[in-house]
Amino acid sequence: MLIDATILFQIAGIGIITALIHTVLKQVGKEDIAQFVSLVGFIIVLVIVIHHLSDLFQQIKSVFLLQGL
């Protein structure tokens, strides 16, 4: 049972890089595109997180015999 912290680093990396892209685009005055990039990054991360969250809930359900609920 080896859950490593790769996903943590992955999400943090995506966050930092989207922040950098955001600042770069903002500096040259493309605020709208910067906003869009941030939004897209957030949605991608959210998809990853929701995937894992559903995994967790599935496991809790199977462990606690909650199939009927």
Partner: protein, 135 residues
């Protein structure tokens, strides 16, 4: 040693949170969320082992498995509710967190209804119904 892994994940997550908090607060929140998911994922598997032990014990003691199932369901609901409530609280929505907790309590009560009614029935059986005999 899973405990070392869990502690390390916690520490790494807090470091990443500190880094990300200033640049992108939303991503920092996501980090918290994924950390709780990871740690709970690690813990849930261990809980599964404990529950297997409990069920085998209950089988040996010939306890109605329905009761054990209900209790396990209640524990599960409690864990899920707490996770949700904590996450919403971290996001700064304390009022929503309290509502989530309320919902958890109500569902626990709902699950407990058969047990409570069974207990009440047992108690009623103890009380002699034709009381006028003694009068």
């Amino acid at each position: 040693m899973d405990i070392i892994q869990i502690v390390l994940i916690g520490i790494i997550a807090s470091l990443l949170y500190i880094i990300l908090k200033d640049v992108q607060p939303t991503f920092a929140f996501v980090i918290i969320l994924i950390t709780s998911v990871l740690i709970l994922m690690l813990v849930v598997k261990q809980i599964g082992i404990i529950i297997q032990l409990l069920t085998s014990l209950a089988d040996k003691a010939t306890i109605n498995s329905f009761y054990l199932e209900t209790i396990l369901k209640i524990i599960g609901i409690a864990y899920i509710t707490e996770l949700g409530a904590n996450v919403t609280k971290d996001a700064g929505l304390a009022s929503v967190a309290s509502k989530v907790e309320l919902a958890g309590k109500i569902f626990i009560l709902l699950l407990a209804i058969p047990i409570i009614s069974a207990v009440v029935e047992v108690i009623i059986n103890f009380i002699p119904t034709s009381g006028n005999h003694f009068l």
